[in-house]
């Protein structure tokens, strides 16, 4: 009877609709929780305070380069590293360095994550936002103002000796240093040149550009454009539409608009003049951004910048370089010229010779000769639980022996003068001596905490210009968009 009574009574509101409502409320509560107390949410990891000093160079179990921080702890530690993937032999070389470090410090295990080069910055940003970033990450010197403003990377000045820092190329060190603190450790020095396939110049019957180690003695941008046109005509006359005067960019993820900082910005900034009065458009064109890092209007859309982008556009409109991304055109001998860092020449000089006769020439010269030293740079995450051990590992990777070994395998230009002096071919080879000399006159990317947005706004606009957009209106649009993005840093 009692059971029957229970069955006949209405069951109080536990139906499907009420469960769904409750679930929705639960989901909404969880979703809106971050709004509560949002103003107090800082989220940025704390920067290190004063670093206690250890024995300094020569006083540790192995050569930790210029590291002068405390002795490494003895408890079990895992250091996470995120970097770009190189070729297999170079990857093995780097992991071999980890093995030697772990052999000296058996309590320290190193876990590595390899990321495609073009995705490094974004991946780093996502990791830092998540609050669980790798201890050591491959960043770039042009993003250093953002790292500093975000307090996302460890100020490293005190972990290394003054003489170590002073050994780094001044323009490069300046690009990662703010108010006396250094927020990234340059890993290599990007100093570009033009690598040339002499066989293809001969095939097209075009005179070779000057092969010199003096950056000022190369061709002007107009001379290069004329040579590219002549090469195109020469290839076409022989029915070789598969050959190109200028190789497609292999920077970033390839193709036009692939890497504004390191490559495409050169076309604009070379038309400016760093020695001109600060109020002139010539100076502003070279600077690329206002002194406070918050305004690009009047800097990226000057008459000089527009002229630079018109030059750039000709490459694509006159079929001087492919519109899309084509890998390895230089190596496969289907392009006569390529913008390249010194590592290409370094690899070829170390024995892995290409199938053609090659040389190098300085970059195109506008009102000035410019190479942007936006270089791969290692950063220690500010939230790392192992800052000293990570800085020590970085010091080890950067010691003289490892840097020379890395140069021999990868070919890139070391950042420290004392290392450069130990590598004879950097003096004796015209190709590498040119890179060294270009490094001496290299300039930093426009300094702004919003470089990530600046860079990501300019890349597609540069691509649009390559595809035919009017450089004048495209650059004005770019300046408006960049300024809109930079407002949030004011």
């Amino acid at each position: 009877m009692k059971n029957h009574e229970k069955r006949t009574q209405p069951i109080p509101a536990v139906d499907r609709r009420s469960v769904l409502k409750a679930a929705a409320a639960l989901g909404a509560f969880a979703a809106f929780t971050p709004m509560i107390g949002a103003c107090s949410s800082g989220g940025s990891p704390t920067a290190a305070g004063t670093v206690s000093r250890g024995p300094g160079p020569g006083g540790y179990k192995i050569d930790l380069g210029g590291y002068q921080g405390p002795e490494l702890r003895t408890e079990a530690i895992t250091i996470r590293v995120m970097r770009q993937s190189y070729t297999d032999p170079v990857n093995k070389l780097v992991t071999g360095m980890y093995d030697r470090f772990s052999a000296a410090y058996p309590n320290i295990k190193i876990q590595e994550e390899l990321v495609p080069y073009g995705d490094l910055q974004q991946k780093m940003q996502v990791y830092v936002s998540s609050g669980k970033a790798p201890d050591l990450m491959m960043g770039r010197s042009d993003f250093a103002p953002a790292y500093k403003a975000a307090s996302s990377t460890l100020p490293m000045r005190e972990y290394f000796t003054d003489s170590y820092w002073q050994d780094i190329a001044p323009t490069l060190l300046d690009s990662v240093t703010f108010d006396g603190q250094t927020y990234a450790m340059p890993w290599e020095h990007l100093a570009m040149n033009m690598i040339i396939n002499k066989d293809l110049f001969k095939l097209a019957g075009v005179a070779l550009p000057p092969e010199t180690s003096d950056p000022q003695k190369g061709w002007t941008v107009q001379e290069w454009l004329k040579a590219f046109k002549d090469l195109r005509a020469g290839f076409d006359a022989q029915g070789r539409r598969d050959l190109w005067p200028l190789a497609a960019s292999v920077f970033g993820n390839g193709g036009p608009g692939s890497n504004y900082g390191q490559l495409e910005s050169l076309w604009i900034r070379m038309m400016g003049d760093p020695q001109a009065d600060k109020s002139t458009s010539a100076y502003k064109t070279f600077a690329g951004i206002s002194d406070d890092g918050l305004t690009s209007t009047g800097y990226v859309d000057t008459p000089e910048a527009i002229e630079g982008m018109r030059n750039y556009q000709r490459l694509f409109q006159e079929r001087l370089t492919p519109i899309g991304s084509v890998p390895d055109q230089m190596v496969s001998s289907t392009a006569a010229v390529s913008f390249a860092g010194p590592n290409q020449a370094g690899i070829w000089l170390s024995g892995a010779k290409p199938s053609f006769d090659w040389g190098v020439s300085p970059l195109p010269r506008g009102a000035t000769i410019l190479t942007c030293n936006a270089s791969d740079s290692m950063v220690v995450w500010a939230g790392s639980p192992n800052p000293s051990e990570t800085a020590a590992l970085l010091g080890y990777l950067n010691n003289d022996a490892n840097r020379i070994e890395f140069h021999k395998a990868w070919g890139s230009l070391p950042v420290r003068n004392s290392v450069i002096e130990q590598i004879p071919e950097l003096r004796d080879s015209t190709a590498l001596a040119l890179a060294v000399n270009m490094g001496k006159i290299s300039a930093a990317a426009p300094k702004t905490p919003g470089w990530f947005e600046y860079f990501n706004t300019m890349n597609p606009i540069v691509k649009d210009i390559a595809l035919g957009a009017d450089p004048d209106s495209a650059l004005k649009d770019a300046a408006r968009k960049v300024d809109g993005q930079l407002k949030k840093y004011a």
Binding site: L26, G27, A30, M35, A38, S44, S151, P460, K463
Partner: protein, 278 residues
């Protein structure tokens, strides 16, 4: 209690992300840490409304939706009718059509990227054989949208085909036998028996394809990056660009909410248009 696991999953994977996106669309964010740092009200919505790229993305979302639906559903229905025939080779053909569903979208995108390449692509190579000049398939806005739609139709046609096949096989054979006895023609049988019998399948396929077309993203990021001049960007790509390339989580979230609102309106219209009539 029986539906609690399903409800829990719904709350965790659908309602929570949606609520979070809505909450984020009303907030300002620290561009470095992506931590919320103040209530923004509707200013994120105002900001995207003033951005011409947003409206281009809205229009493109509609173009992709209409283009993909308009091509994919009739083609899938035609394929399903063919594959429903009891003739030799249909089993193999069914597998082939459905197999494309299992392929990685990223791999397929890269493959089609190579096919569409202006200088070395198969498509332009074939055009060259018949004396036609190379086309800017991925670098001209209109052409790029068209080829992205074609690729999406090729990649996704398996699902609606599968739905239609299941629907066709659930229509009682007696209806066809009766129609045959009455001397009905093929068109008449299709119009009065097959199509009404497929009504629920059409509704389901329409929803599925609409959602897939709205979420269209991987081919855009891998093949055009939304360019040239945002002409291939849709709301999915726009929100990604705002949130992850320009460090603007607030406006990125506002674009997501706009996309969900648009999808809700379109779906409601579809439900109304395809409702069961007495």
């Amino acid at each position: 209690m029986m539906i609690l696991p399903a409800v829990g999953g719904l709350a965790l994977f659908q309602l929570f992300p949606f609520g979070r996106a809505f909450a984020d669309s009303l907030m300002r964010f620290n561009p470095f840490t992506q931590a919320p740092n103040g209530f923004a009200g509707l200013s994120n919505y105002a900001e995207i409304a003033n951005d011409p790229s947003f409206w281009t993305s809205v229009a493109n979302t509609a173009i992709y939706g209409i283009g993909i639906l308009g091509l994919e559903l009739p083609l899938a229905l035609g394929l399903a009718l063919l594959l429903n025939q009891a003739v030799a080779g249909t089993a193999l053909a069914r597998t082939a059509v459905i197999a494309s569903l299992a392929a990685s979208e990223a791999v397929i995108s890269l493959l089609w990227f190579m096919i569409y390449d202006k200088e070395n692509g198969l498509f332009n190579g074939a055009l060259g054989l018949i004396g036609l000049g190379p086309m800017d398939l991925l670098t001209d806005g209109s052409q790029a949208k068209a080829v992205l739609i074609l690729m999406a139709v090729w990649k996704d046609i398996g699902l609606p085909t599968l739905i239609f096949l299941a629907g066709l096989q659930s229509i009682p054979q007696e209806y066809y036998e009766a129609a045959s006895l009455d001397g009905a023609g093929k068109w008449s049988v299709f119009r009065h028996i097959t199509l009404p019998g497929l009504r629920k399948s059409i509704l389901l396929a329409t929803f599925m394809v609409t959602v897939a077309a709205t979420r269209f993203f991987t081919p855009i990021i891998l093949m055009t990056q939304g360019g040239p001049n945002h002409e291939t960007s849709n709301l999915m790509y726009y929100s990604y660009e705002e949130g992850f390339l320009l460090n603007s989580y607030g406006t990125g979230s506002a674009a997501v909410i706009a996309m969900v609102a648009l999808l809700a309106v379109v779906t409601a219209i579809q439900i109304y248009a395809l409702r069961e009539r007495d």
